[in-house]
Symmetry: C2
Subunit: 307 residues, 2 copies
């Protein structure tokens, strides 16, 4: 089952050095989830051939412009492109006011339903859940209210061991309840426990998005063992004071979080405009001193969330 993230923007604050403000698109089994939506995100969809009609859920981390200025354009473009499916936006208080005020002036109303889900960031808070996926919030330590997100796949059905269907001659009408965890009662009264009939669930994969934040070890219990971690890395280690002052992290700090949480792989991004393309490798090397399996969040790159 596809579970991968594509980087659409990886610069901090302003578009610069050919990089765009923050946006990522998560493909989970061909459903797309958008994470942040900086200015120009809809142009990045065109560039990287993102099938944006498949996005029904958008997660906005906070109200610094480089994380949401592209949202109003996307919402109105969907309308111009005759979207009918509801669109759900998860974000901090204010995002609804900002979008609605602009719609009030610039549009004759949307022809699809736009639903805001306003939440207060809190570690572990479930903000979205359906039968395949759960999204929880992570409380970032930033200058304004700011949330990270963990996307975790979810299993609501067991896979039945095929040989058991034959062995116990399981009737078709019982398959559904066994997949849901029921035991099997045979004609002679014997009870076969579900665990014998089904395969153990695989470990659920997860992707964590830690955007604008100070170095924060409070996150470790929540990040523990995630398969893929994105952590902002605005500065190099020589600028650790500047990171502190602006409530951001260095690439070394991002990697220390990855190392301490024992994640499988780390992506670093949200680079300061002071770094040109050729400077990014030094941020990467400084991260790799702490956590080897680190990659740069380069735009257009897709990272699989591997089991």
């Amino acid at each position: 089952m596809t579970f991968e993230v594509t980087i659409l923007g990886s610069n901090s604050a302003i578009p610069a050095n050919g990089r765009h403000p923050t946006s990522q698109v998560l493909n989970f089994n061909e459903r797309l989830f958008l994470i942040d939506c900086g200015e120009g995100t809809q142009m990045q969809f065109n560039r990287y051939k993102i099938r944006s009609g498949k996005i029904d859920h958008i997660f906005i981390s906070h109200l610094h412009g480089d994380h949401f200025f592209g949202l109003i354009g996307l919402i109105t473009s969907y309308n111009l492109n005759h979207r009918t499916a509801p669109l759900h936006v998860y974000g901090p208080a204010g995002i609804d006011q900002i979008i609605n005020l602009q719609l009030q002036f610039c549009s004759r109303g949307l022809d699809y339903e736009l639903v805001f889900h306003i939440f207060e960031p809190q570690n572990g808070l479930v903000i979205f859940e359906d039968k395949n996926m759960v999204v929880t919030s992570l409380e970032m330590k930033h200058r304004i209210v700011c949330s990270g997100f963990i996307f975790t796949e979810k299993f609501t059905e067991f896979n039945i061991r095929k040989e058991k269907i034959q062995e116990y001659n399981i009737p078709f009408e019982m398959i559904g309840s066994i997949k849901k965890g029921a035991d099997l009662t045979l004609a002679d009264g014997r009870i076969i426990p579900n665990a014998e009939l089904t395969l153990p669930l695989p470990k659920a994969r997860s992707y964590a998005f830690c955007t604008d934040t100070l170095y924060n070890e409070d996150l470790l219990p929540y990040l523990s063992g995630v398969n893929l971690l994105y952590h902002e890395a605005t500065f190099d280690k020589a600028r650790v004071d500047r990171a502190l002052e602006t409530f951001h992290s260095t690439s070394a700090q991002a990697a220390q979080i990855a190392q301490k949480a024992q994640v499988k792989k780390l992506i670093i991004g949200h680079f300061s405009s002071r770094y040109f393309e050729q400077d990014l490798d030094s941020l990467l090397l400084e991260a790799q001193e702490h956590f080897v399996d680190t990659a740069l969040a380069l735009e257009g790159y897709t990272f699989a969330v591997e089991r």
Copy 2:
């Protein structure tokens, strides 16, 4: 004296086919005036090496998103780039609310002065004036309140004929008043009229920006003889009914306005997303049937406002 316009965006409604929403930058004697600011305008500055620090005046035609969604990003990027000069925004009621609401949430306040000049579009209304330039409004016929703009150079001083300085031995301290139009009184009481001392003023050049509008002959007296006219041309002539329905123009209609107003040159833009790059030539040909000196508003192209 430089007087030229560079096209930054020429698509209508949504970014598509590699084209961006509306934005143009007018260079008048190395001062820049921004006309509309669709999403991604600040990225277009980077692409076309526009020295955006030289922009102190931004004119917003109307509150359809493809004409202003890039403004908030530009305003906050100026702040992040330590702008100190005041920035003046001319536009319809609502633009101030929209920008201020976003600033309230996403910024610790601007370190420079942002001044809104809200106006009701009206043909001939002066909305900006200084010693070199006057900007008047044009009332567009669109679905919502919408203004076009005419930028006209202005002469506040005559050039003195050099030979007259010698002939009448004009003292240095009188040069200023003669440049302002004063006559010269000689020692013997004779009065030399200003017209003999100075060169006739050249005809002031003007650039007219006619954005989203129905075909509207009411504009002709105001457009009469302008040196360079931009007129929207969203559709080809087969879609004249669609133009009417959406309060837009065809390229043939744009050219009819140019022809009837006897402008010097026409640029057409704001192309519907239905037209791919290779389709634009047919819009151009349909315009040229009415007005030969027509050009496509291709992004990155600069058009001089020629005397």
